[in-house]
């Protein structure tokens, strides 16, 4: 059976290599020239519990995993129980008879459907018994996923071996032997096959945080400082791992407060610095953001939201930090906030914000969510398309750090320079010396505020609102990682709808939306109070016709979302 969209799900305990099994399959699809989207659902624990990875692939772009899987590999009883109901009609669920005593071949009816438990075929394969023949059986069961996938998608045993060599090199020979055994057992257990066509060309498979990292590097990132916090940590890990190749210095200091102030200090001496965190850690950086705003020190930040408030649900997604991101820090200062709606956009937007931060000596915030940060997908990145910061730099001469200029921004200069360069968190005069003089206070407020308009002019040249689909169709508004879900839903459901996605949220691109004042779009977001909807109403005068919201920590499922959208659009 060949399918337009093929979905593979593997579930097991934390520590069994579930995520790895997902990424092995996604890589395999990518190498076949197909598109792939990987979602990892994991708990805030290290061993045990229940994790699963879902990979959806197609020969066209795919913006989400799907809820119904064509192939499910359940490594333990919990996975069987949780996912039995997610098997697509005609699909096959492969599980271990030890873990799932009841799930034996007897359950299968002739037509491949198991009437008791829903559609699809359930087969058992001795995943654990076979693994026990080798040392460290618990670490090996992930290979069973690859073996099953190869068998069911009609790849050869040699292709499987090649895959294992590339992906499971530790204790390789045992892995190969184990994999071949499972492969044979799967072939014997079921006739269901999903041959997968090759796609047009191989694409890199990247996580959202990796795209952000690369975007920052493309725009000249010098120093990255961060304190671990899910779902931002993988950005730290990726940059730390590749620091030499990327030419980036990475520091993990004692706290987020240290992070932000180290970054501000680094930027003041000319290093393109960036910080990243999630809500709780970001909250601790607020004082430093206001500091950067006052001192006009360029600072790029990545805020990856998780289910909140407070500690919340660390490994799950939400879009509840929007108003927080837009209003950080006390007092009045410029800041730019943008939220990417795709992996490629994450690269572009991060580079753009680095440019903006340096061009306007301001704070840039890449607002994203766990869903983009930690999902992976095949991406077409426009490497050369990245912005490159062009800060205004002083030619030496009698330097004044905060010179009031016609260009609005005061040129920068970094020690050693022969000049006095004073950055200050106090209100200051043009030299950066503290002032309490009323006229100077007013002058400096005006100087900083003039940047607001200049930034807006600059941002107008960027792709601030992305329109997807026929502009005359009914409108759906969304933003951030939810864009991917909405686009996939529209595609999957064949909906007649245009999706409007503001990428920039501050300055809010009202100029792009003026024509839409008074329209009544559907607004989709992962927030329980509708922060994005409120923003649309307040900034652009656009009132929602209907709101589609999800806030249980899980991303939207495209087919379910399509049904919901269909209902409200009609």
């Amino acid at each position: 059976m060949s399918r337009d969209v093929f979905t593979y799900l593997v579930g097991g305990k934390a520590g069994e290599g579930v995520k790895k099994a997902g990424s092995v399959s996604a890589n395999l699809f990518a190498e076949m020239g197909r598109f792939a989207f990987q979602y990892d659902d994991y708990q805030s624990l290290v061993r045990g519990g229940h994790n699963f990875s879902v990979v959806t692939t197609a020969t066209r772009d795919v913006g989400s995993h799907y809820g119904k899987a064509d192939l499910i590999v359940a490594l333990d009883a919990l996975s069987y129980g949780k996912h039995r109901g997610s098997l697509a009609p005609g699909g096959v669920l492969v599980c271990d008879p030890e873990s799932v005593p009841g799930a034996d071949a007897a359950r299968n009816s002739a037509d491949g459907s198991a009437p008791d438990d829903g559609p699809g075929t359930v087969v058992t394969v001795p995943i654990r018994a076979e693994a026990k023949k080798y040392p460290l059986p618990g670490l090996r069961v992930g290979v069973a996923g690859a073996a099953t996938l190869c068998a069911v998608t009609g790849l050869t045993a040699d292709a499987l071996e090649e895959l294992i060599r590339a992906e499971y090199p530790r204790d390789l020979e045992n892995n190969v032997a184990y994999g071949r055994a499972i492969y044979a057992a799967v072939l014997a257990a079921t006739d269901v096959r999903f041959p997968l066509e090759r796609g047009d060309r191989a694409r890199p498979l990247l996580a959202g945080n990796e795209c952000i990292a690369l975007g920052a590097v493309a725009a000249g990132l010098d120093v990255y400082a961060a304190y671990p916090m899910t779902p931002s940590s993988s950005l730290l890990h990726y940059l730390a791992k590749h620091d030499d190749e990327l030419g980036v210095t990475v520091m993990h200091p004692e706290s987020e407060i240290a992070v932000a102030n180290i970054a501000v200090g680094a930027a003041s001496m000319g290093a393109r610095a960036m910080v990243g965190s999630s809500g709780g850690g970001f909250a601790l950086m607020e004082e430093a953001l206001s500091f950067a705003g006052m001192a006009e020190i360029p600072l790029l930040c990545m805020l990856s939201a998780r289910s909140g408030p407070s500690t919340g649900v660390p490994t799950y997604t939400e879009q509840a930090d929007l108003r927080f991101a837009l209003n950080q820090g006390h007092g009045e200062f410029s800041r730019v906030v943008a939220s990417p709606g795709s992996f490629a956009e994450a690269y572009r937007v991060t580079a753009e914000l680095m440019d903006i931060a340096w061009r306007f000596q301001t704070v840039g915030i890449v607002l994203t969510e766990k869903h983009l940060s930690e999902c992976s997908a095949t991406v077409d990145i426009d490497v050369e398309g990245a912005a490159w910061p062009e800060p205004s730099l002083a030619l030496t001469g009698a330097y004044r750090r905060y010179a009031v200029t016609e260009d609005v921004v005061s040129p920068m200069l970094f020690p050693p320079s022969g000049e006095l360069v004073k950055w200050s968190s106090y209100e200051h005069d043009e030299y950066g010396v503290t002032t309490e003089d009323g006229e100077t206070i007013t002058l400096m407020h005006d100087k900083r505020n003039r940047k607001l308009a200049t930034i807006e002019e600059h941002v107008k040249n960027l792709s601030t609102v992305v329109w997807h689909g026929d502009p005359d169709a009914p409108l759906i508004f969304t933003y951030g990682s939810t864009t991917m879900s909405v686009l996939e839903a529209v595609r999957a459901g064949g909906l007649n709808a245009a999706v409007v996605q503001p990428v920039y949220l501050e300055p809010f691109p009202t100029w792009e939306l003026e024509g839409l004042k008074g329209t009544r779009p559907v607004v989709v977001e992962q927030s329980s109070t509708g922060q994005f909807e409120t923003l649309l109403r307040e900034k652009a005068g656009i009132e929602a016709l209907a709101s589609v919201r999800r806030y249980d920590g899980r991303p939207f499922e495209p087919l379910e979302l399509a049904r919901e959208l269909e209902e409200v659009l009609s």
Partner: protein, 297 residues
């Protein structure tokens, strides 16, 4: 209120200069008699002394916290960052990390850095960040009108502790020693020459230097009499760790000088492994090549 610069550049001084080429036009608002004046003078003398060693003042930058101490930022003719209350040491580490060729002096207050910013101090010591911390130790939150600081003695009465401070003070020398500082000294604002030497030596030292400067606050905590008696230069140079610790605990006398000095890789050299992030920052094509490498890898 700060006047705009009036210095006539034709006289040879830069436009921002006040009484001399290391002093800005910023109007000094410390109380007459305050120990901070001496720290400012010692800092200027230390810069001149370092210049004698070939460390040009362009390569010496500073960071300051927020408090009376921090006003030195407005007066001293060095580049740098007037940061946040408690955060100067973090900011300074970022400055040094960005460009390890610079020497960074950090002027902090005792409230600033033993209270709000304690963790930054101890971590800078732990990782041996190559910055020189000059702590203006007046035992009080002076700028905010005299509340007790983490170094105030039990019983100290300030506006937040009108019945007397119920906490015992921290010992800054002991804590920085224990956290791993590789240069720990005590100075006294009443001894400008000694203090000048300590600041210059701190800057020369590769690694984390901490100088606890006894600084009488004539308004809220005037301890000139006591310090003039107790704060005498110590005999001899740096001590062993144990002896330094023992000396740091003594309260009956307050010997000044370098209590302890040791060698250890500095935070920045270990972290950057020889790169200078600002100087060696890749150009656009380098960066894009690196991106492509990872995309293809």
């Amino acid at each position: 209120m700060t006047k705009r610069p009036t210095a006539d550049p034709s006289c040879g001084l830069p436009a921002w200069a006040g009484q001399d080429d290391l002093t800005t036009y910023g109007e000094n608002t410390w109380c007459p008699g305050c120990g901070n004046f001496a720290i400012l003078n010692a800092a200027k003398a230390a810069v001149r002394s370092l210049e004698g060693d070939g460390i040009g003042r362009d390569r010496i930058v500073m960071a300051a916290g927020i408090g009376q101490h921090a006003k030195i930022f407005d007066y001293l003719g060095l580049s740098g960052v007037y940061s946040l209350h408690g955060r100067a040491i973090a900011v300074a580490q970022g400055m040094k990390l960005a460009n390890p060729d610079l020497s960074v002096i950090v002027f902090v207050g005792d409230g600033d850095t033993m209270g709000e910013g304690l963790a930054h101090l101890l971590f800078a010591a732990k990782r041996n960040a190559d910055v020189t911390v000059v702590m203006h130790d007046n035992g009080v939150y002076a700028l905010t009108t005299g509340q007790r600081s983490p170094l105030s003695p039990e019983g100290y009465k300030g506006p937040s502790t009108p019945h007397g401070n119920t906490e015992q003070p921290l010992n800054p020398l002991v804590l920085t020693l224990e956290a791993g500082a590789t240069f720990v000294a005590r100075g006294y604002s009443g001894d400008i020459a000694g203090l000048t030497g300590l600041i210059a030596d701190g800057v020369r030292h590769k690694g984390f230097s901490f100088i606890d400067v006894l600084q009488p606050c004539v308004t809220f905590n005037n301890r000139y009499a006591e310090y003039n008696e107790l704060a005498k230069p110590m005999d001899g140079g740096p001590l062993s760790f144990d002896d330094a610790l023992a000396l740091a605990r003594v309260q009956e006398t307050l010997p000044t000088g370098i209590l302890y000095r040791a060698e250890r890789g500095s935070a920045e050299e270990l972290l950057t492994r020889g790169r200078n992030p600002v100087r060696d920052s890749g150009c656009r094509s380098d960066r894009l090549a690196a991106v492509r490498l990872l995309l293809d890898g």
